[in-house]
Structure formats: C-alpha cells, structure tokens
C-alpha cells in the first residue's frame, strides 16, 4: 500500500503541510512578533488542550467511530478536578479522578456503540448532552472557585522555556504515535476502520478495539479537563463548548479520513497547529474574530476536498 500511492494521494497528504508553512511565513512577515519566543510559547500553550483531545479523537475516527462528547467530558472532569483541587488533597487525587471520570464516559460510549450497536453520532450526542448536564449538576451551575496555588501552577509553569502544558501534549503525542503506528494494537485499530468485516474474519476482537478507542478519547478528555481547570483557574460547567468540533477539525484537516482506516499522527499535529496558528495569528493581527470563523471553515472544506479527491482517484 505505502509505495503504491498515487501522485494525487501524496499531494493531498502534504497539501496541508504546505498550507501550514505558507501561513506561518505570511504571518511572520506581516507581524514579526508572531515568531517571537513568547508568542511561540503561546501557540504551544493554546494548542495543547485541543491537541490532546485531537489525539484521542484520532483513534476513534481511525477505528471508524466519531465522538461528540469530549467537550462535555472536559467540562465534567474539569469540575471534578476543581472540586478536589482546592488544596485538601494531593494533586494526584484530582488528576486520577479526572482521568477515571473521562475513562468512564469513554467506556460508556464504546459499550453503547460496539455492543449496543448504536450509531456513534447518536450515542455520543446522548453522552454529550447528559455529561454536560452532569457537569452543571455537580457544580450547581456555578463556576467552581478556590483552586489551589499548586494546582494552578501545573499549567502556568514552564520548563526550559517550554510551557508545561506543551510538555503534556508532547508526551501524549509520543505515546499515541507509538501506539498507533508501532504496535499490534495500533494496526488493529486501522484494520477495524478500514474494513470491519475483514478485521473480524481475521480474528480481531473488533468489539474490544472499538470500545478501547472511545476509552482512550475519554481518558485524554479527562486529562484535558484536569489541565483546563489549572489553566483557567476555575472549574466551569460551560467550559470547552464545541471542543469536540475543534478536535475533529484538527484530525480531518490533518488527513484523518472520516470514513475510517486512514490517518497519520503527524497529520493530526499539523492539523492542531494549523487551527491554533489561525486563531493566534488573526488575534495578533487584530483581525475581527468573525474572520477567524470564515478562515477556519474554508480550511476545513479545502482539506476534506483534498482528502476526497485523493481517494476517488486512488479507487
């Protein structure tokens, strides 16, 4: 497969990389402060939470699924972490509880879809709504204040000029890329999304694989929730609204096919950075945020258009 790729497939694969580089050059020329170390650190910080979510989403989409619930899960686990992160417990407690909370939502999604045979869109739409309700319920609809200094420092700090949020992202990228491309498990995820019947015939436990991809997405949403609360210093029940869309956008723009089985980790990295750079660059240029939406929308459509074109010529 790898070496028989057609020209258009290769073009579509690197198209987004070219767009990204072009955008960076244009922004650096228009506003030199765009490439100042401080702003590069900003970009890493701003990319982190979406990047972590996008890598969870990557597993789900490659296995042929779709997860609408991650934004709500970030808010829910962020509230859990805020409630437990007021200094009354060691920091590891809110972290573990947030991870477990996210994992639980992911497993519910996976079981409903792989065993209950519900369409992923419907199942995760349900959990998206219910988990948002849960976030509002446990916070009584109010932002949770009083997050401890130590907890705030998790996202605020930096090591050797690299924001600590970005370090979380880099660790997630390394682990996820390794799992997706170098392990048997990773190959099975691709196989499930490529052709689930064939995967089943080949003896892969597709039910377990599909549940596990949603569990990964949930777990990473839990991590994001923990980091989100540290970053904004409050637990907000309405936080992370439509973050699932940004994560899906990062994947799709990065060449992860919505029909499953196709996608590379480095594409997701570029997708995440591209979205962040658009927002950051237009903010720096002082452009109205309405334009950001338009530019983002155009890039999504362009990227998917390339994806579809590349595929139709391959067939």
């Amino acid at each position: 497969m790898e070496n028989k790729k057609s020209f258009s497939a290769i073009f579509s694969e690197y198209f987004i990389f070219v767009i990204f580089i072009a955008l960076v050059i244009v922004l650096a020329i228009m506003k030199p402060s765009f490439i100042s170390p401080k702003n590069l650190a900003n970009i890493l910080k701003q990319a982190s939470i979406n990047g972590i979510l996008a890598f969870g989403m990557m597993f789900v989409i490659i296995s042929g699924g779709f997860d609408m619930s991650v934004g709500s899960t970030v808010a829910f686990t962020g509230i859990l972490a805020a409630l437990l992160g007021k200094g009354q417990y060691p920091l590891v407690v809110p972290l573990i509880v947030a991870l477990i909370g996210g994992l639980a939502v992911g497993i519910v999604n996976g079981v409903g879809i792989a065993i209950g045979d519900l369409p992923p869109f419907i199942m995760t739409l349900g959990t998206m709504t219910a988990v948002r309700g849960l976030a509002l319920l446990i916070s009584n609809g109010k932002p949770v204040t009083g997050v401890s200094e130590g907890y705030r420092a998790v996202a605020a700090g930096s090591i050797a000029g690299i924001p600590s949020l970005a370090i979380f992202l880099i660790v997630v990228i390394i682990i996820c890329s390794f799992v997706a491309t170098k392990t048997v498990y990773g190959r099975r995820v691709y196989a499930c999304g490529g052709n689930i019947q064939a995967a089943r015939v080949a003896g892969i436990n597709t039910t377990l694989i599909r549940i596990s991809t949603f569990a990964i997405a949930g777990l990473l949403a839990g991590l994001s929730g923990f980091l989100m609360t540290s970053r904004v210093t409050i637990g907000q029940p309405t936080a992370a609204e439509s973050y699932e869309m940004d994560a899906i956008t990062a994947c799709v723009v990065g060449g992860v096919s919505m029909s499953g089985g196709v996608g590379k980790p480095w594409g997701v990295i570029i997708g995440t950075l591209l979205i962040t750079v658009i927002a950051n660059g237009l903010d720096i240029l002082g452009v109205s945020s309405h334009w950001q939406k338009i530019v983002k929308g155009l890039i999504i459509v362009l990227a998917v258009l390339m994806d579809v074109k590349g595929k139709s010529r391959k067939d």
Partner: protein, 330 residues
Amino acid sequence: MKVRRLVALLTAGMMVTALTATTAMAESGAESVAEAAADGVISAGAGAGKGYKIAVIQQHQTNAFQIAVSEAAEAAAEELGCELNLLSADQDAAKQISQIEQCVVDGYDAILFEPVDPDGLGAAAKAAADEGVVVINIISACTDWEANGIAALSCGDNVTAGETEMQAVADLLGGKGNIAILTGPSGDSGGLQRMEGYENILANYPDMVQVVEPADCQWDTASAQGTVESWLSAYDLDAIICENDGMAVGAGNAAGADSGIVITGVDGTPDGFEAIKDGRITGTVSQNGGQMAANGMNAAVILLNGGELESNTIITTNTWIDANNVADFE
C-alpha cells in the same frame, strides 16, 4: 428600548470624571424612570403573596448570574409566602413558549420570564396575559413588551453597566491609553448594549485608543485567555475591558497577577471576585440579577393584590466593585 436609550443619553450627558459621581448619576438616571424604585428595590411586604402560584422561567441556569437569579427568586417567594416554580428554558425559545403555555394551563397567577429571544416570545406572553395571568419580564424585555400585555419589566441597564465599567477604566488610566475589548457572542443583545455604554464613554476620551478590533470570546474564560495571550505578545495594552467576568478572569490569567494592566468585567460573579482579590483583575460592575428577580416577584404580588406600580419599568442599579469593596459582595 426608547426609555433605556433616554436613560443612557441622560447619564452620558451628565457624566463627570469622578467615579463616585458617575455612580450617583447612574442612580439618578434610573430614578427618573422608576420613582418607585428610588433605591432599586421594591417590596410588596412580607407574607403579601400568600396563596399565589408564581412561575419564574429563566433563560438558562448554567452560570453564576442565573443561579443568583434562582436563589433570589426562592428567597423572595419565601418572604412573600407564595408558591414558586422555577423553570429553565435552556436557551431554547420554543421550549420557553411551551413552558409559558403550560403555566397558563396549570393555573399560575403570575409568570415571570427572561425572554430567550426578544422577538419570539411576545405572542406567548400576550396569550398568557389575555388569560388573566400577570406576565412580567425580568432581566431583559420582549420587543414591544407593553403591547404584548406584559405588565412590568424588572431589569438592569446594560448600557449603564457598560458606562460604569468604561468610566472606571478611563479614571484609572487618566483618560489615555491603549485599550482592547472582549465581547460576548456577536449579536447578543446584552453584549451589544454594554458595547453601546463603552462607546458612550469613549466618545469623551479621544486619547483612549482601541488598538485591536473587539474580539468575540463567547463569554468563555479559556477563549479569552488565548486571545489575550496572543495580544500581549504583540501589543502594549493599558486596559482590557470585558463584557463579562468569565472573560475578564481569562484576560487576568493571561496577564498575571498585578500586571499593571487594568482588566475589568461585568456581572459580579464568584470567579470575578476571586480574581479581584488576588489582583488578576481590577474590578467588575455588579448587575444584581438577584435583585431583578426579587423586584419582579414583588411587582407581581403588588399587581395580584390589586395595587399599582408607580412605574412599570423597575431598574436595578449597578455597582462598581474593586479590591476596596469586594468583601462586601461575596
């Protein structure tokens, strides 16, 4: 609407630089509209609502402002001795219409609601009023609310809130500096009115320059934080004016505690207070949402008892809160 514009014009005309004077002026502006609410509070008297069933339909119940509304409505019901049903329309105009219809069927004596949509709820309100139910708008009004049979309007004044906030910023900056504004979702009427207030004040201070376009941060802390981080790496800002506290907290996080940048919000929510105390934001304008609900409940009981309101528009005054007085509001 016309009345509010008038208040805005009156107050804008009377603006003087001292902040205390500003607040006093805003209050007197409100008085000219609603004499009955000279101090922004009306009362029907304890126990006056015995036997009445009142429904309060909120736009939603998902932020600190709305929870303050819920809590104040409950407290007012307790004091008035009436039965209260608190409902949330979850930002859905169709749902709010059904809730109003259901409350009429269930025999409620009064329905208070904050319209999810200023134009979409008029007909439902009129139908309820035609059935003899006392209908009152709280927090914001339906378009042509009086013509739609709505008996009273208990609200704050977003234009004045915006003016109070921007005036405080102007005073702190000495009328001169680079400023930036964070807004709520584009098209939100509350946000637009706050912006109108900002513009009224900025007209007096040509040396206060907006160096970037206002950014739409959807009332969201994380979004505001990202935008302000980006701005601060490219612009030298003296003040960041936010249309709510959530975004001000995000701006404060981006700038850090005691950054020397004046950062302000509107609403007076717990996250805002926390950030004022630790120096991440400078101050906020309290909109007293709870008082709007309480005034609405009392107005309903006065009308149900056959009384009359001195004015059917009851304006709640707003207050500037900073490190000096934040402890009084928690």
